[in-house]
Symmetry: D2
Subunit: 339 residues, 4 copies
């Protein structure tokens, strides 16, 4: 790779698109060449997102293959069902593609189709690599199409996977009580994201019926109870996860399993004290802790990340770095914003 990476973002007006722009502006080798939209062609993205104005100005265009086929890298930020319509032609044109949607996240097409809809590109799906670098780094290096994981999924999987792989636990006992900021719900107008529905409020939704549940189950190989809940904040996920162990362990035992797995990972930090939502705000870090309660058989895991960064656009940039053989942390090491 000589020179900069020429980048397109398809579906750039949503939060993950704007977040990609924010992150790529700090990436020394990224060059944003094309932003597409179905609804706002001709507008400047910085008009829609005034926070970008001091640094950025680019006119949105409608998606056309000709506009993007000569780019090096395309991020797709479309609703599910739409990515699989265009990903094949992009990949076949030699463009590297990272899909931030769900269309290529499931190895088992039946699981995808049960949760989402009929799949339109099963052959392309077979080529996709699941974009969780901590578990698929080697395959990501050669990937042409990466399926970026869901936000809740990343938080839950990073905490659970080492436990499920490394400790004796009771299958079917895992409960994920997850809380997310509102940006996970997107920018479209809905009554339930009106300021006055959320402010001073907290609520559960899609109890046992959220589409991220089968994706988590795919990743850890067990069924889970998953309850997503809406926090009255802009960003961040904190997942409180309960696992019944088959043996009595200490908190230190559980932390050791996590530390062993993530010792050399640049973006996963195992911490002794419970991490709080703000610890990750705006950053690409995922913070995980563990505590054994009761008589020693009950494990409580806490996993924190920013849903728009490590839970979406930051992880996508991390995957891009891997695909282009760059230092994995390039452009992504900024600390969280606090207070």
């Amino acid at each position: 790779m000589s020179g900069k990476i020429k980048i397109g973002i398809v579906g750039a007006t949503g939060y993950t698109g704007a977040e990609l722009v924010r992150l790529l502006l700090d990436h020394p080798l990224a060059e944003i060449r094309c932003l597409t939209t179905t609804s706002a062609a001709g507008q400047d993205l910085a008009g829609i997102y005034p926070f970008l104005r001091p640094r950025f100005s680019q006119t949105l265009v409608e998606y056309k293959l000709d506009e993007v086929k000569n780019l090096d890298m395309v991020f797709i930020c479309l609703p599910h069902g739409k990515s699989m319509e265009i990903a094949p032609e992009l990949v076949n044109a030699g463009v590297k593609v990272i899909d931030l949607g769900a269309d290529f996240r499931f190895r088992d097409l039946a699981a995808y189709e049960q949760a989402y809809q009929k799949h339109a590109a099963p052959e392309m799906n077979a080529q996709a690599v699941y974009g969780l670098p901590e578990y698929h780094r080697a395959r990501l290096k050669k990937a042409r199409l990466v399926a970026n994981p869901g936000c809740y999924v990343t938080a839950a999987t990073l905490a659970l996977k080492p436990i499920v792989d490394g400790l004796a636990y009771l299958p079917g006992s895992i409960i994920i009580d997850a809380k997310s900021g509102v940006s996970g719900a997107g920018r479209a107008l809905r009554q339930d994201t009106h300021f006055l529905e959320v402010y001073t409020n907290f609520s559960a939704y899609k109890i046992g019926a959220h589409r991220h549940q089968p994706e988590i189950e795919q990743n850890i190989g067990d069924s889970v109870v998953f309850v997503p809940q809406l926090l009255p904040v802009n960003r961040g996920i904190l997942a409180t996860i309960y696992v019944k162990l088959r043996e009595k362990l200490s908190t230190e035992d559980a932390l050791a399993v996590l530390r062993q797995k993530y010792r050399d990972e640049p973006f996963v930090r195992v911490v002794d004290e419970p991490p709080t939502l703000k610890d990750a705000l705006g950053s690409n870090y995922c913070l995980i802790s563990a505590k054994i309660v009761g008589d020693g058989g009950q494990l409580v895991l806490l996993s924190v990340l920013d849903n728009l960064v490590k839970g979406a656009s930051g992880q996508a940039v991390q995957n891009m770095n891997i695909m282009f053989d760059l230092p994995e942390t390039m452009g992504l090491e900024r600390p969280a914003l606090n207070p």
Copy 2:
């Protein structure tokens, strides 16, 4: 009872004290006669809480038995350990007492002493009635000393007790993932309630080690996993509760058990849709719902209340109404504040 109830509030400068004043100002038979304090004697409570100014002005005094022994009713809003120093002399002087603290909540003194401290008034403790009207109404009518339940405890017990009593479930499987607004933490200055520690944040604390856990366990007769968490809001508790059932049930089965129990209760509402935190804000209502997920063996309960009303001062007024043979709802039926 002829005429008004002459009332004292001991420890009136905390949030539960101010909330009692707010509620009692709407109670047609309440007359606030005495407000005591250890730190602010000589000040007007409305100077400390300016929101009271348009309706209320009363000077705080130091606690002396002589000042309160001729009252009808005293609410004690002191930290644990302090209530048991004065409750006996008040009760023995013929004053009816409701203690909003923890000193008289445990039938088993050993459980109290393990969670809190040495008990100084074991004989008085034996006389105390636990102030959860939905379960102890008959005894409350004759009580001289009422132990008002904890806020998390009220939310958890009202949801769990009918299930534990009425359904076959797996003992030891109960997990209570509870979220509370900041007023539960009190008004004293602490780094963790500084605005900038809480705003845009969310965090777990005292995982498996909160003092409300043994109180819940006393109420339902089983051990639980209890994880309290701090929401960036002023008021409200939402508890998400997980119970493993021994049989496969439908959501409707679970709701029916709750409805059967609370059909005639004025302040507990069983609702089909997940209640949200705001549904109870400022009101004395507790809203409960249930959902069966997965293959039918996992129950998810949601319980919502305002920690300062049904979780503290409102429930105390409800108990007062019972003790004085008044309509139980007197002064307490105001709907929540919304938006």
Copy 3:
């Protein structure tokens, strides 16, 4: 008036409609008989506003004169332009009417038409009484149609009117820097009231171009500079008002003018210390203070109220009490909600 007041609310699904229901549920002589809607006929208002569920259930219907002409009192909560279509037929049918919209607020029709639109009921407009009880109480007693003032207007007028009437000030010097919670913007879906547009944000809008400006100018008889701004909170208005005086005065001089005017008013409180937004939250009180800065010639006024209560539905109930010769404070004396 014997028995209860039979009440209808036209346009009940907006925030002022739901707030009227909340307030009237605490009013001992109010009986809500009819709720109308253009968009949600057949639904229960408590399904749209779950916070009402524990206390209230009533099906919304479409507006028909026959449904409401036998009521005692109708509150109109419609957008401007719609009230003037139905107010005349209601008044002519003998129903007392309070319009919470702008259609009958202007004595000078030209001013209305410049700010809003062509007026369709000029004769009815001539009969309307402006519903600011502190200034029009006598006429309100006999009114058949009351024009309830705007929220910003109430806050600004109550602070400014005694100053303009009682002190020598420089005409044209008045600046009103006003801040409002989001409920002033209504419940309809708009990008600028999406949670993520408002949270952690603050912004000015309609600078020098808000429709409440001419209404304030009508009330005080002078032109003003008016800058409305959006606070990231649910309720409340705080107006900071600047007036250049022609003489050097002390803070106490200014406070004395305000106290003199409002000494016997039940819902206006003149306070020494700057009132804060929360002091009025959920209550019908308006809190006003004053401070002289600089060399004595610059007056700063602060005026606080809840835009949905004293700024809208609470003031409407206060007007109803006056119209029905009830104690003016009936159902309205609850203190603010705090914390």
Copy 4:
């Protein structure tokens, strides 16, 4: 300058200290060598600010001249009165110093002493350069001691200075109605920054009596009315500024004056639409707009910045870049965080 800039931060545990660390971690030539504290020596700054943990770990030490005298650059983040005790010895040891406090901001010592306290280092004060790059860039290049401006002062001065210098306005007419997030009040525990005092609230404080007022007056050469107010958010200042003009102008006239001045400034952006608080959140940009209202003689200016960045630590890094002859934008061009 060869190699990295060796940096010390004196008083590193406050918000401006932590913010300096956050910003300097992204600065390619900064090397944080020493963090001092009076209260937390021996602790890791990342223990106090867990958001730093993934990127940073450094033990706090007590201030000793020997520890810092060989550094290139020291930022002083101490309360007023403390900086002037140590700045002279640092400067005399050859260290470049930027003081984020008030001790060296006033050319007129009497003005300082009236607002603050007796000055202990008048000779050093005479050498200090006021750190507003847009107006003092040339002198900053050679400065040994820089007085970093106050947060409100930066917002107000950047908006007002071109107007005062370039337009005919009425002296004595300037009113600054300023709103700030809570981080401006610091991290120390105070009742008025308790979460529950601020959340859902808004309030004015130190009306006409804030110490930033004389600093603004020094910068623009006129007296002002200054009313600071507390927003229920973490960061950001929005100042709404009123200026009476001597002539009738258009909005475009006013914008032209601002654009002319700031055309080549990297961190000041003149924008057509009213900037909102979030547009600057976490960034070093100041956004300014203008609008003429009424009959053309009243100017309304809006100025937005992040009080911890352009209002404090970011501006300090900008000054450091100038003092070390680096590109002024180095490490500071990240866009705001949004949503």
